[in-house]
């Protein structure tokens, strides 16, 4: 019996091996490769019969997805022959992903974009020039938009994207803290830098008497958030041709110095060692910071906080003027798109009254069309002064000079600003060390 078993086994094994021949294996391999390769092509090119599919990408959180889904539903209802395929690219690397798609020639038809990487991508042909499309659309003329938002995407005489929402920075403040510090609950509407520092000093307090500050007057700022101080002092970031940074002017230095003094002279901003592991937003909501400079994008989240009495104040007036920084999110069309006209219809819908109102309703930002923003952005049911954002955006907002190497120059400033915040170098040294390096980058000399 045992011997029979020994004899049978090899025979069975031989048959099994012969049964799976080389052609069958080859077929299996080809099928596997096809299975791996085909879905990608299919996904990008699938289109229902008689329906044109427009791919539209955006970033953000789940709330952003809801906004775009609602817009897409309504658009599809109005345009039954166009389907919007939303592509939600979450995380911080939205533009790196867009860049990879551009290289792979599979860009979405319509892309959300913002100011920081815009210039690099527009210089490299990632965006369609929308100027010819705008020629026939008077409702989308420049004067319909907040100028700062519109101009963000304007290069030379070409418009590469249209803003769908805009933001600007103001000061969120805690009214309870002000009362407790013996200050009026609201700052003066025309307050100045000196008023701001005065209030922040009063609001910086050791509440439990242990010798450590528990409540700080204001948040600490990156170099980038100091731009409104620089504009307020009469300075600016770059020369008009964007060939070099001009932080070495007395006005620019004065703007930086204003915040340097807040950190190292008046100690009204927490140092790193004073920071609990919290975001600035959390620190404001939990009462660790009394005045917080941030944008209109945070308004909706702040509205959810029920335990504090807060409002927004205008930017304090500097020695020369009042200034804030505007940021923008826009929509662009890919030059690779086979359905540019349908893509343009989608953008027009997003910028229509109905589309713009959706952004305001979800609190995503200020509608970029001025007329719509004034109608729908301020919430009459809240006690806060949201209309101050509209006034700031309209009257005293500036935009950052964004060039093709912006991210790289920002890294240099970040590095040296870290040392400023640690108190290891002063503003003169910051400017002296960083400017030659960044200006070489702007001129392309480091290539």
């Amino acid at each position: 019996m045992g011997l029979t078993g020994q004899r049978l086994k090899p025979v069975i094994r031989e048959r099994r091996t012969q049964g799976f021949s080389a052609p069958a294996a080859l077929l299996l391999v080809l099928l596997l490769l096809a299975w791996a390769a085909l879905p990608g092509c299919g996904r990008l090119r699938a289109a229902e019969k008689n329906t044109i599919t427009i791919r539209s990408s955006f970033w953000g959180a789940a709330q952003d997805a809801k906004v775009w889904q609602e817009l897409a539903r309504e658009f599809e209802r109005q345009h039954p022959n166009i389907r919007i395929q939303l592509e939600h690219i979450a995380g911080q690397d939205y533009h790196a992903k867009l860049f990879a798609m551009a290289v792979g020639r599979c860009l979405p038809d319509v892309m959300a974009t913002d100011d920081e990487p815009f210039r690099f991508l527009s210089d490299n042909g990632v965006y369609e020039d929308l100027t010819p499309y705008l020629a026939h659309e008077p409702q989308l003329a420049r004067n319909q938009f907040y100028t700062a938002a519109y101009d963000t995407f304007h290069v030379g005489k070409r418009q590469y994207a249209l803003p769908y929402i805009a933001h600007c920075l103001l000061i969120y403040y805690n009214r309870d803290h002000r009362r407790a510090a013996g200050l009026p609950p609201d700052p003066k509407p025309n307050w100045t830098w000196e008023d701001f520092n005065h209030d922040a000093i009063a609001l910086t307090r050791d509440l439990d008497g242990d010798g450590r500050i528990d409540q700080f007057g204001a948040n600490r700022l990156s170099w980038f958030y100091c731009l409104q101080w620089i504009w307020g002092a009469g300075g600016t970031d770059m020369d008009p041709q964007m060939t070099r940074y001009v932080f070495d002017t007395p006005q620019a230095k004065r703007g930086f110095q204003f915040h340097y003094d807040q950190m190292h002279k008046y100690h009204i901003c927490p140092m790193e060692s004073d920071l609990p592991n919290m975001t600035w937003e959390s620190m404001f909501l939990t009462g660790k910071v009394s005045m917080f400079m941030t944008g209109s994008w945070w308004l909706e989240q702040c509205r959810q906080a029920k335990n504090i009495d807060w409002d927004v104040a205008p930017m304090p007036r500097g020695p020369v003027c009042q200034a804030t920084r505007a940021t923008t999110e826009g929509l662009a069309i890919s030059p690779q798109s086979p359905h540019k006209q349908e893509a343009w219809e989608w953008i027009k819908f997003v910028l229509s009254d109905a589309g713009q109102a959706v952004f305001a309703r979800y609190g995503r930002g200020i509608p970029s069309i001025r007329r719509v923003a004034q109608q729908v952005f301020p919430d009459p049911k809240t006690p806060q002064h949201e209309e101050r954002f509209l006034y700031a955006l309209d009257r005293y907002a500036h935009i950052t000079s964004i060039h093709a190497h912006w991210l790289q120059t920002a890294r240099v400033f970040d590095r040296e600003w870290d040392r400023v915040m640690m108190g290891k170098i002063n503003i003169d040294q910051f400017v002296r060390i960083s400017l030659p390096e960044v200006n070489a980058i702007v001129r392309g000399e480091d290539e």
Binding site: G2, L3, Q6, R7, K9, P10, V11, R13, E14, T17, F20, S21, A22, A25, L26, L28, V29, L32, L33, A36, D93, A96, F99, A102, V103, F120, N124, G125, V126, E272, S273, D274, L275, P276, N277, H405, L407, Q408, R411, D414, R415, E416, D418, R419, M422, K424, D446, E447
Partner: protein, 340 residues
């Protein structure tokens, strides 16, 4: 029980059963000393090549992937390293300019390399020592040993991102667990860790000790393969615990140390996740590591040519260090009591 096949069973079949590949060849004698039957040699040759082809076809998906996405990409990166290219505009051939820039005109290259070398050369010995110490402790006979082994190994299977988030909490200067303990021990002003340019890299090195579980397992396996007879003989000869460890256990562990050393040096020079998530290279570039700098050049500044040059420079640095370690192993690695 070894049962010989009876004579009527074909020779080739019996060889296949033993897995003897020589049986497929036309000119080899079988184990029973018979020459293969010449009339079947052509069939066997066809079968041999058929089966070889089948084997290659089955591994073809992997080979295609490896050649396309690894070897192909590496070779493509060589070509890209000689270009000035952002992938969108047409490439411009610049010869060795990217390499020249890295070595001669880019202070950040040297800073990133120095930071990475600092991290690797300090963390690697510490990690090996910590893993060895843990392995020795976990090689003792104590109750609940499997539980301890599991606990010390677990951090190794946690993803880098989760570990980074956890350590950001632990290293928080104000409310972090580490400074809490230091304050309890009487340190009035504990370090700012990730926010202090002098302490940020030591903090990352400290954190690297968190995931020595993999190395520990290799040492543990090595410790368990040290022959008891050798240790007993040394004990009988009067050697104390330290001398047995120093002169028997450690030499027997040197192959495992070599393996861990090579792998750790490679991983140390490729450190990325921690610096990307925890510090972003800061403060003031104190934790700007080589791969983080490479990543920025490729995916933030879109300088693909320069990033490719940086990648190849790193490849040769790691290759050089690995060869150096392997060459040096002749002097300190022992295999079964003999020097390699």
């Amino acid at each position: 029980m070894n049962v010989q096949p009876p004579p009527e069973i074909p020779v080739s079949l019996s060889r296949r059963d033993t897995g003897d590949a020589a049986g497929y060849g036309p000119s080899h004698a079988g184990r029973d000393g018979r020459r293969p039957v010449r009339a079947g040699s052509a069939t066997r040759r066809r079968r041999y090549w058929g089966q070889t082809l089948e084997g290659y076809l089955f591994v073809a998906p992997w080979i295609v992937g490896f050649v396309t996405f690894t070897v192909g990409a590496m070779l493509y990166a060589v070509w890209m390293s000689f270009q000035r290219w952002n992938l969108l505009a047409p490439p411009q051939f610049v010869g060795l300019a990217n390499y020249q820039k890295a070595f001669c005109r880019d202070p950040l290259f040297w800073q990133a390399l120095a930071n990475t070398a600092y991290y690797a050369f300090v963390s690697v010995p510490l990690r090996i020592l910590a893993a060895l110490l843990l392995a020795v402790l976990l090689n003792q006979s104590v109750r609940g040993l499997p539980i301890f082994r599991t606990i010390f190994y677990l951090p190794s299977v946690v993803t880098g991102v989760a570990t980074s988030m956890l350590w950001m909490l632990l290293l928080n200067p104000d409310v972090g667990g580490i400074n809490f303990v230091l304050r309890r021990l009487g340190v009035a002003h504990p370090p700012g860790w990730l926010t202090d340019e002098h302490w940020a890299m030591p903090a990352l090195i400290l954190m690297s000790l968190w995931s020595v579980g993999g190395m520990m397992l290799i040492f543990l396996a090595g410790l368990q393969s040290v022959p008891d007879e050798l240790l007993d003989a040394a004990h009988v000869d009067g050697a104390g615990a330290w001398h047995r460890f120093r002169h028997i256990t450690v030499p027997m562990l040197t192959p495992a140390i070599l393996f861990n050393l090579v792998i750790s040096v490679i991983a140390g020079f490729q450190v990325f996740t921690q610096t990307y998530i925890m510090t972003g290279g800061g403060p003031a570039n104190a934790t700007l590591t080589y791969v983080l700098y490479l990543y920025r050049n490729a995916f933030e500044y879109f300088r693909i040519g320069y990033a490719s040059a940086l990648a190849w420079i790193l490849f040769f640095i790691i290759l050089g260090l690995t060869l150096l370690i392997l060459r040096s192993s002749a002097f300190w690695v022992h295999y079964e009591g003999e020097r390699h």
